[in-house]
Subunit: 116 residues, 2 copies
């Protein structure tokens, strides 16, 4: 972890070469975390946590974002008191070509089948 500098505290992220497939799949295997990933994919940019509604407690939500960050699926940074989240699309595409898109497509297809 990097020390706080001014208003921007830095959060720990794996470098691209530290990202592991099993960690990414685990991160994506939870419905709440998948919801975050799908919202970020749809937004095509960064979103504050407060912009993504999850029907869980604040501490559970924080846990889910941390799993996503520590597995290398998202990048988080502070802007003042808000945490901004963005998908690490480039890193994931370089490491696991096609994986993220096939997972996003599978999630959309399942929603459609289940009428969600």
């Amino acid at each position: 972890m990097t020390a706080a500098t001014g208003s921007s505290r830095e959060l720990a992220h794996p470098a691209r070469e530290e990202i592991r497939l099993e960690g990414v799949l685990h991160a994506l295997s939870d419905p709440m975390r998948m919801r975050v990933v799908r919202e970020l994919a749809a937004a095509e940019g960064e979103l504050a946590c407060s912009r993504i509604e999850l029907p869980v407690t604040k501490s559970t939500s924080t846990h889910h974002y941390r799993v996503l960050r520590e597995s290398g699926v998202i990048r988080q940074c502070y802007r003042g008191t808000a945490k901004l989240n963005g998908l690490r699309r480039d890193d994931l595409a370089a490491l696991f070509p096609g994986l993220l898109d096939s997972v996003l497509g599978a999630a959309a297809g399942q929603d459609e089948r289940l009428g969600a």
Copy 2:
């Protein structure tokens, strides 16, 4: 679970429409289970558990196969005292097009990068 009939006992499997993406991703997020899936994919057919070497205890191995079966990733059946395992490729391809292949490709690519 179906009752035993003669020498072929049947194991419980989800029907295709009961298979869920989150369960499949969870099943694939473990290195031992991924190893089983990759060996079955390479074999292009059924393999007995004894044909797939996992560096874990028998009970842990049984657990991993059960997770794979109950999530809908593999089909297991008894032949005498042997359990035969096969990937549910058709079901997975119908539900989640491209997903299994992108995961298998990602696993192979990671092995190559890590020199595994």
